[in-house]
Amino acid sequence: MIVRVALPAHLRTLARVGGEVKVDVEGPVTTSSVLDALEAMYPMLRGTIRDQVTRRRRPFLRFFACEEDLSHDSPDAPLPGAVASGAEPFLVIGAMAGG
């Protein structure tokens, strides 16, 4: 399945991509499988979205899709069908901070 992923600006710069990226996900489309595919395609992103050892989401990041906050769902739960079909992107969001 081809899944669209939208990254925050700093991670787009780090991965040297301009806009959304498309990743090929084998098997069930879940947060874990999408991030696995993303990190395989862009190894420089390893450790920047989730911890390299625990695989847990970094605290200042959130995962959104289809106008829902999926951050606290199980990383192995199926993502919405619209994400799996490529109709909607999987959004990696950096927390707003500052004044």
């Binding site: 700093h10 991670l11 390893r46 450790g47 979205i49 390299q52 200042f60 990041l61 950096g94 901070a97």
Partner: protein
Amino acid sequence: MSRIRVLVGTRKGAFVLTSDGTRARWDVDGPHFGGWEIYHFKGSTVDPNRLYASQSSSWFGQVIQRSDDGGKTWETAGNKFVYDGPTGTHQWYDGTPHPWEFARVWHLEPSLTERDTVYAGVEDAALFRSADAGQTWQELPGLRGHGTAASWQPGAGGMCLHTVVQDPSRPGRIFVAISSAGVFRSDDGGRAWKPINRGLRSEQLPDPQAEVGHCVHRIAMHPSRPGVLFMQKHWDVMRSDDGGESWREVSGNLPSDFGFPIDVHAHEPETIYVVPIKSDSEHYPPDGKLRVYRSRSGGHEWEALTRGLPQSHCYVNVLRDAMCVDSLDPCGIYFGTTGGQVYASADAGDTWTAIVRDLPSVVSVEVQTLP
């Protein structure tokens, strides 16, 4: 004619400042990695075109960048820093046990002899080593495994291993400094470590002369005399003449003996530099005057160097990794401030000029003297 390349790490990116050997006119290149904190940015002495940068973010964690062409292009290196074995605990600020947690790389120290070897000093305090130019990292666990480690506590900036000094005359001898644990030395390439803090006195500790617990801010060595070490401690400027086995205070007539950086003149091993800061609760220069102090006698007697530096209403700080010296003659001295200025002296500190004035807050300054 030689060229000078100054590598500046700031709260919002890295900058490369270059000049010819006159050090009169400078080109400023950057920001690289804009928006990220660059805790340290340093080149290899074995291959000066190999540069490493520690890139950090509260959002995205740790990234290591490496350049093999003097900073023209970059590639991400490995950022997997995993403690070796059980992580154990150290003391938290309130004295309770707290598990070791990797936060960031404070200092990157390329090997003096091996092109692809580089050390990383990290928070929470540990020393890592890479033998493949930063692609993979292995902890040298003997340090964190030292019997005193459970009693180490963080300083205000975190429990960081911020200083790594290699002895050029004695392969395998490495000094590290940790806030707030003190100085440790290994004589076998980092396998076994011993605390070397005898002579330090820290009134903030229940036992002011404890074996560990001292907030050492920075140590420096002249490569021609590796048995002599200089230290800027939280309070007190110290020196050792026996490879760290014992220390004595050389603060002398400084207006304040609190500060962060300390460095040694490239050609005069008894000439040292510090930047006094008023106190640990104020973190700005005494009297609003930015003054570098130089001792030509290895301490005790200090002179203020002020020409070209702001002498009124100046309230910046100079952090521990933000001062360095080049190897030209006369020796060049460089330092960066939390106000974003990078000052340079091409005459061993007698006069100063701002190379650049309005960078983000400067965290680290390193210099390369290139052929």
